[in-house]
Symmetry: C2
Amino acid sequence: MMVSRLTIEYDGTDFAGWARQPGLRTVQGVLEEALHKVLGPLDVEGEPLALTVAGRTDRGVHAWGQVASYRHEALDPARWNALLPEDVAVLTCEPAAEGFDARRDALSRTYCYRVLNRRARSVFMRGTALFCPRQLDREALTACAAVLVGAHDFTAFTPTETDHVRFTRDVLDARWRIDDDVLEFWIEADTFMRHMNRVLVGTMLEVAEGRRSQADFTRLLRGAPRVDAGSTAPPHGLALASVRYPLR
Amino acid sequence: MMVSRLTIEYDGTDFAGWARQPGLRTVQGVLEEALHKVLGPLDVEGEPLALTVAGRTDRGVHAWGQVASYRHEALDPARWNALLPEDVAVLTCEPAAEGFDARRDALSRTYCYRVLNRRARSVFMRGTALFCPRQLDREALTACAAVLVGAHDFTAFTPTETDHVRFTRDVLDARWRIDDDVLEFWIEADTFMRHMNRVLVGTMLEVAEGRRSQADFTRLLRGAPRVDAGSTAPPHGLALASVRYPLR
């Protein structure tokens, strides 16, 4: 069964997230529209030609290395990009191994949340970093990230009304990379729940501002209710950076 | 005489350049409008309160470190930025030495022109780099930049219809910094003529594509006519990076 694998970059600003929704401009919708123009509405099995994705990003969230798959022939990225609007681009498109599925086969996803921590706002980072002019305890951020590694119950970090049935996630790596006034939170986990990264960042920033203790943050990782955690950081600081798959 | 010095960042995409022009949205116009709201229409001498600038950038050109001055008190950047649209920001605003003039006192300006040289276009660099999918001879670019250093007659690199009266410029430094598929042309000179950097880049890219010889490029620096040089690269790849002043 013919399968193709895509790597995709998008600026989430003007998208209502990844997932196709009637009447809304979504990344999946825009990509499938281009795909249907070239290959028609059906895949090689005669089913509706559709994309399967590694990370269903929310409204306003960006991607630097999203991965998707579909059951039809690969198209040259230049051909894709000629059909796509300027806020989404296909970086690679290649034939994948028999039965490849971008969601099911992914071993982990890595996200990056960027914070600009200085007095003056930035023009060029306005769409891709949270501007935070308040003083932040950077060592507190680093300490918070360190306790995230491992398996934890992240119930506190996703909305109470939820479709998730399992609330434990396995965090493979989590750290703040700090370069002068640009603070980046990098996290790799098997999968993520809705809003999880944004609530993690919102809560860590409360610790870094001295409004919440380090011990309180650690306690949240044991299945505390959503109301105990902090605010949801805005989506524009977040990007799906990359997806990891087994080596062939 | 009270003088203040500003460092300014702007995204040139939606501006008709720096210089105030009736009926057009310009960086100077937007900044002076904010200034007048706080300090009124006159400077400390009773003259119209206006900005003097180090580099008058063209329509669509960006700035990371533009410098301007005005004869009135300094305002906190946070106060400035609350009054400014999101595509322009004041980074610093400080009292300057008696008689300081951002244009006259500048020793040199440094510009950066960014080229993205790969097969797939970029979403996040779409507004700040020229996308060039053709194969480029990067050593040829480096060789071109090397011959720019020194005093040359740049008549070939500015429009024939011109207000400039002197066509020699002193290039203090010029080099391509290459990081994987991002090629940046950095140039520092005493002053620049209109379109000079964009014609330099357009012409160097013709050399790098094999459409023009290295010797031909070198010959252009001896006062050749505009028609002998290459095309004008688009403005969105260019940014005024910084301005140098004497140490106090």
